[in-house]
């Protein structure tokens, strides 16, 4: 066989390996119930429950932040994050957690939150009205 043909096969093999491993390493978005059933790390999408307490007291422990989140199925769970409270967390619209369930608490190693954009209309409205009151 020609050398280039062998090399071509090697390249194709590696390409397939890369693609398969990409998808085997990719994760799935789950719910708290899924997380409870499988002990492995997964990503949960949901909303912060703004009515319940967000606990962070740097003077007690700078690396402990807890809050309650509702996943997309509506199940609620206490979440603990080892780290400082992300700024403006209260204003988040959507939260993506990476972590796993320990007992009845979800221990998150990563929080990704979506805030209302700086420039979207509803946010604009709020700031504009402030300006208006101030000038009257």
């Amino acid at each position: 066989m020609k050398k280039s043909a062998i090399f071509g096969l090697v390249v194709i093999a590696i390409a397939i390996a890369v693609i398969i491993s990409t998808y085997s390493s990719s994760s799935t978005y789950g719910t708290f119930t899924d997380a409870k059933e499988q002990a492995s790390t997964m990503q949960v999408v949901g909303k912060l429950n703004k009515e319940k307490e967000l606990y962070y007291d740097a003077t007690k422990d700078a690396n402990y932040f807890s809050f309650y989140m509702k996943d997309n199925k509506g199940a609620e769970c206490k979440v603990i994050f080892t780290g400082t409270k992300p700024q403006d967390f209260e204003r988040s619209e959507q939260v993506v957690l990476t972590g796993k369930m320990v007992g009845n608490e979800f221990h998150a190693s990563k929080i990704l939150m979506k805030c209302p954009s700086k420039y979207t209309n509803d946010k604009m409205e709020e700031t504009e009205f402030n300006a208006k009151q101030a000038s009257l």
Binding site: K2, K3, S4, F7, V11, I14, A15, V18, I19, S21, T22, Y23, S25, S26, S27, T28, Y29, T41, M42, Q43, V45, A58, T59, K60, D61, A62, N63, Y64, I80, T82, G83, T84, K85, P86, Q87, D88, Q94, V96, T98, V102, G103, E105, H107, L112, K114, S117, K118, Y119, N121, K123, M124, E125, E128, A131, K132, S135
Partner: protein, 823 residues
């Protein structure tokens, strides 16, 4: 309804919009004219070419016109324009007005089309016989880029987004309908604090010059196929590819340096989709450069060279689709928001993909494929293999980064990997091992044929020394504790540096033209070593073992805790340093924290001392935005950033700076910030102890002046000179007692740094004593910061490797340009 709006400046916007449309039209004209010029059989007839040039120059002028109008609007704070409102504010200094210029999508499209126009003019001047076909391709790109700025509605669909849209048109708000609405729009939204950094002034222009120059090799590739000059295009394509790779590489590393210096994710590379999107075309074009050289020297690998050259530019467009369409959504922290241009961006990618595919398919039968087989012991074969590996590494980057795209296309819900950074590090590391190995031994191969025995001895000897040196490095830096890939990569990168060092040494003895590639390879090798060691062995210094434990299980699963808390003026031991948060200084809008670092030897003598000032900005819209401060040593960096601090919002600080009033109510409120007061009766020389130190009453002295009150002739004012010692620091305070007529008043003195308020509350003449009332702040009211510190070893290899690599690229460009005789 025609409302006359007060105070608007409509002329610059109308002029700007005129230029936008003109730029689009002129680019279209230029495309058509150059197309006919390139297809013209009579090469002496220059009339189409002349029209093409006029079109392109008109396009360039309009693009500059757009820039001038937009800058004028932002510079003069015309907030009736949405772009100025959204991206700037009155308080921005001029150099940040420049960065606000390209904060938005429209501005960055402008930057891109501007560079492309500049490069187009360069080619009109230099490309000679290539001008018509090459500029035809570039003009197509100009048409598409300027269409992104149009903001015109055609058949009910809005095409592009104009930077000159008015605020009242952009937003549907009732008060914007009022004729005097501008009176309420006093200030703009401002520039994101993260971008208020000098790197943000120069990083985007460099990056976009890199993106813009990627089109030149693409255009030459297409032109070569189109004009059936199948081999000639390779020469100029090599030079311009080297230029593109150099500039884009510089731009990417500038971004990485900005992230390292001013963002707080704690590192210089995070494999964020936005970063990946810019590094993918860079890698493929580097692959392309190598294969182009292979073809030039040996006639092999024509298709791979062509393919990589063309795909690189298509990937640039794909990258802009990824970052600008909002498709990345929840996977990326810093992609642009969606401007509803999804379809438009996809069309942009498809247009160039189709051009490339059609050109290749149409000419397939005539392409100069080599029939011979490469020799195994030849440079061309292994250069080719190495480049293919480089391109393969991109496949993984593309696949993982595109997960959201696949989700959007197929409606699946696949989440990106849980630990993307580790995944990328190991995957890309593995590819880098192979590439670095090739970078090493290919240097011992010659084109056509090399004598195997000689090659094996040379390459083997260097590999052996690399293993020895690398082994020591891996051992000393502790890389061996990590995944094996890290150790392998360190060794192979050292191999690449060594063997290219040999080439460089030879080059200095005579074969000077080979120096460029050797220098670039050495730079890349050093960059890999630096990245590997510093990312792999970076260590959080601010580990916190204290802190209340919530549950044992929790503590077990979550160590180490990476933030420590520092109360003001209370030293904390952190690793080998004693750190103290000693004070603040405010330079609006930033709040700087002084953090004092001390290193002591066994006897407790201070051997090293320095102060870092990380800063934060409490922004109403974005929350606390922190920038780190870094102590640079030759062989490592100590990086410190504040992750949490109870500081006031920017606007509160501004108000405070405007003048505070301390009414009686304020005084009452103030007391609630302290623990219950404790009175002490003391004589001169007595000591008062309190929780965090002690104070001595040094003297009582009659005061002739008081800060806030004018003294009358019969007033008696007595001051108590107190010397306070706390946490190794000494402060002085002078509370005053004033007797006016039959009334006594006392004036408290605050020692903010010590968290104390002191009052001279009573004078007791018969005992020769006074009463000092001590207020001290409870722990929770005391000022504190929560801080994270990371040690990055050998990071300077990374930066210096980058600089060396860029120098190498520059040398190669000069060499290739000398070889080039453009007709």
């Amino acid at each position: 309804m025609d409302t006359v709006f007060k105070g608007e400046h409509l002329l610059p916007g109308q002029l700007g919009q005129f230029f936008v449309v003109l730029a689009f039209g002129a680019a279209l004209l230029s495309t058509i004219a150059y197309f006919f010029a390139a297809n013209d059989i009579n090469k002496l007839d220059k009339s189409w070419q002349r029209i093409g040039r006029i079109g392109f120059w008109l396009n360039t002028t309009s693009v500059i016109g757009i820039g001038v109008c937009l800058f004028y609007i932002i510079y003069n704070h015309f907030f009736e324009y949405h772009y100025a409102y959204a991206h700037s504010s009155r308080s921005l200094p001029v150099y940040y007005i420049i960065s606000s210029f390209w904060e938005g999508q429209e501005g960055s499209f402008w930057l891109w089309t501007f560079w492309q126009a500049v490069l187009g003019n360069l080619l009109i001047w230099r490309a000679k016989s290539w001008e018509s076909p090459v500029l035809a391709v570039i003009s197509v790109a100009q048409v598409l880029l300027s269409s992104f700025l149009l903001g015109v509605e055609i058949f009910g669909a809005r095409i592009g987004s104009s930077p000159f849209i008015l605020l009242r048109d952009a937003l549907e708000l009732p008060f914007l309908k009022r004729p005097d609405y501008l009176a309420f729009v006093r200030d703009g939204n401002g520039l994101s604090p993260l971008l208020q950094n000098y790197w943000m002034v120069i990083h985007p222009p460099t990056l976009f010059l890199g993106f813009a120059s990627m089109i030149i090799p693409f255009a030459y590739g297409i032109a070569g196929l189109w004009q059936k000059r199948y081999k000639e295009w390779v020469g100029p394509a090599i030079s311009y590819s080297l230029f593109a790779v150099m500039v884009l590489g510089t731009g990417i590393i500038m971004g990485s340096f900005w992230a390292y210096e001013s963002l707080n994710f704690g590192g210089f590379w995070a494999w964020d989709p936005v970063e990946n999107a810019s590094v993918i075309p860079w890698l493929t074009l580097i692959g392309a450069v190598h294969v182009l050289i292979v073809f030039k020297n040996s006639g092999h690998a024509y298709f791979t060279a062509l393919f990589l050259t063309l795909i690189s530019f298509v990937l640039v467009l794909y990258a802009s689709y990824l970052t600008r369409s909002g498709v990345l959504g929840e996977t990326s922290v810093h992609a642009f928001t969606d401007l509803g241009m999804n379809a438009h961006l996809i069309i942009d990618v498809l247009v160039f993909l189709v051009i490339a595919v059609v050109a290749i398919v149409a000419r397939w039968k005539e392409l100069p494929f080599s029939q011979k087989e490469e020799e195994t012991y030849s440079r061309e074969f292994w250069l080719f293999v190495g480049s293919v590996f480089l391109a393969l590494s991109c496949l993984q980057l593309v696949a993982v980064t595109s997960i959201p795209v696949f989700n959007a296309v197929f409606g699946t819900k696949v989440a990106p990997p849980n630990e993307p950074v580790t995944l990328y590090n190991i995957f890309q590391g593995a590819f880098a091992v192979v590439v670095a190995l090739f970078m090493g031994f290919t240097q011992f191969l010659k084109y056509k044929k090399t004598e195997p025995a000689r090659f094996l001895i040379n390459a083997g000897a260097y590999l052996l020394s690399a293993i020895l040196i690398g082994g020591v490095v891996v051992w000393l830096t502790g890389v061996y504790k990590l995944h094996t890939v890290y150790s392998l990569l360190t060794i192979t990168a050292i191999y690449a540096v060594l063997s290219n060092g040999k080439v460089l040494a030879d080059a200095l003895k005579g074969k000077l033209k080979l120096a460029g590639s050797a220098v670039a390879h050495i730079g890349f090798g050093l960059l890999l070593i630096g990245a590997m060691i510093s990312a792999g062995t970076s260590k959080v210094v601010s580990e916190n073992a204290t802190g209340e434990m919530y549950s044992e299980e929790f503590a077990k699963a979550n160590n180490p805790r990476e933030n420590i808390m520092l109360y003001k003026n209370q030293p904390v031991q952190m690793g080998e340093y004693e750190v103290t948060y000693t004070g603040d200084s405010i330079a609006l809008p930033n709040h700087y924290f002084k953090v004092d670092y001390k290193k002591k030897d066994a006897q407790g003598k201070v051997t090293e001392q320095f102060t870092l000032t990380p800063n934060s900005q409490a922004n109403r819209k974005m929350g606390l935005v922190s920038s780190p401060d870094t102590k640079h040593y030759l062989f490592h960096d100590l990086y410190t950033h504040v992750s949490m601090a109870p500081i006031k919002y920017e606007d509160e600080l501004r108000q405070q700076a405007g003048g505070g009033d301390d009414g009686h109510d304020a005084e009452q409120n103030d007391d609630s910030n302290y623990d219950a007061p404790v009175p002490h009766q003391v004589a001169i020389g007595d000591t008062i102890r309190y929780r965090e130190g002690f104070m001595i009453l040094k003297a009582l002295a009659r005061q002739t002046t008081l800060q806030s009150i004018k003294l009358k002739a019969d007033d008696v004012a007595v001051g108590a000179e107190l010397e306070i010692t706390t946490h190794g620091k000494v402060y002085k305070a002078l509370p005053v007692y004033l007797i006016r007529g039959n009334n006594g008043f006392d004036f408290a003195k605050k020692v903010e740094d010590a968290g104390l308020k002191l009052r001279l509350t009573k004078i007791i003449p018969k005992d020769n004593k006074v009463e000092i009332t001590v207020y001290q702040q409870p722990e929770s009211k005391k000022q504190y910061i929560v801080m994270r510190a990371i040690m990055f070893p050998y990071i300077n290899f990374f930066w210096s490797g980058t600089i060396i690599m860029v120098i190498g690229f520059l040398m190669s460009i000069f060499r290739r340009n000398k070889e080039l005789k453009t007709v």
